[in-house]
């Protein structure tokens, strides 16, 4: 990628991210209740979207040899288990990632 291409990609991400944060203020900043359906989606869409993004992360899983699915499954379960147990973001994320790296580099 050229510097221009990288900069363009970063600029797009920055602009869209800012847009998602600014939209409520642009639409409802002058008073006036947001429509009920917006509040409803605002409450129930995020958990559905996170489930969607987890599947996005696992999109390249293959079910042939064990190295296609086992590291992701084991490390994923470890993250969930660690987080239920200790409720520490840092521990769950860093611990799960190190486990995954060990699994893909050494074990499988």
């Amino acid at each position: 990628m050229t510097t221009i291409q990288i900069a363009a990609l970063v600029a797009v991400m920055a602009a869209v991210t800012f847009l998602t944060r600014a939209l409520p203020f642009l639409l409802f900043g002058r008073g006036g209740e947001p429509p009920k359906v917006v509040l409803y989606l605002g409450r129930f869409l995020p958990p559905a979207v996170i489930a969607m993004l987890i599947i996005y992360c696992y999109r390249n899983t293959s079910f042939g040899a064990a190295d296609g699915w086992a590291p992701g499954l084991i490390a994923g379960l470890a993250v969930v288990g660690l987080h239920i147990w200790k409720k520490n973001n840092m521990l769950s994320i860093v611990g799960g990632t190190i486990l995954y790296m060990v699994l893909v580099q050494i074990v499988f």
Binding site: A14, R21, A22, V49, M52, I54, M90, G96
Partner: protein
């Protein structure tokens, strides 16, 4: 911002300091691992400033994704910010030029802090909010740069470090699961997305476009059930 405001705001931000340093270090390291200079980590953390968004950004940069795909994925991943804004409309009123920065810097963590804190007696509350937002941003920038520089200097085998993004989403999912009593949206999200993945294949994550449409449509259909009783 004066010393008194800083002294009042800083203790509230310590948990974010720990969290942002570590998550930021992992972000910077991932970006270095796919071959980008630490300057890019700094630029991204200054201008984008979104945890999961930047983890995704590493993926997008590594694959040299088309701009349209990048815009769409960034939109979906940050969709939850819409909700944060809605509950900060009142709080940010009358903040003048600082309001723009407050909106820009409204991450999950800053939102959580602002939703729960109150400025102590004798401290201007608007300056107090602004200081919290600014400190959090600085932690994030610092973490990213440390991680990116470490990743550029220390050459270990980083294969698999991209799993940090998966881990981050799993952590968010566990927290949402524990704070909601209604889980139907999670099953809808998983089933709808899986169906689209099987039909459209994994390339470029484009299956997320029909998946998102299915989720919104499904949620609208489920509205009477989900809103009935109004418990969660």
């Amino acid at each position: 911002m004066n010393r008194k405001t800083l002294a009042a705001a800083f203790p509230h931000t310590v948990p974010v300091l720990m969290g942002y340093l570590s998550i930021g270090v992992v972000f910077g390291w991932m970006l270095s691992a796919v071959g980008f200079a630490p300057t890019w980590a700094a630029i991204m953390s200054v201008t984008i400033y979104a945890g999961s968004g930047q983890y995704l950004g590493v993926d997008l940069l590594a694959n040299a994704s088309p701009l349209g795909d990048a815009a769409f994925l960034t939109l979906i991943i940050n969709f939850r910010h819409l909700v944060y804004g809605l509950s900060m409309l009142e709080k940010f009123r009358g903040m003048g030029w600082r309001k723009l920065y407050m909106i820009f810097s409204l991450t999950d963590e800053t939102y959580a802090l602002l939703a729960g804190v109150q400025a102590p007696e004798g401290v201007n509350e608007k300056s107090f909010y602004f200081t919290i937002a600014l400190l959090d941003h600085l932690y994030w920038i610092a973490g990213s740069i440390i991680g990116a520089v470490a990743g550029a200097l220390i050459t270990i085998n980083t294969e698999g470090i991209d799993f940090a993004m998966t881990a981050l989403f799993l952590v968010i999912a566990v927290e949402q699961w524990q704070s909601n009593t209604r889980h139907a949206p999670v099953f809808l999200g998983a089933a709808g997305t899986l169906a689209c993945l099987l039909i459209f294949g994994p390339d470029n994550g484009r299956f997320l476009i029909p998946a998102l449409a299915i989720l919104v449509a499904g949620l609208l259909l489920m509205r009477p059930q989900l809103e009935g009783g109004n418990k969660s």
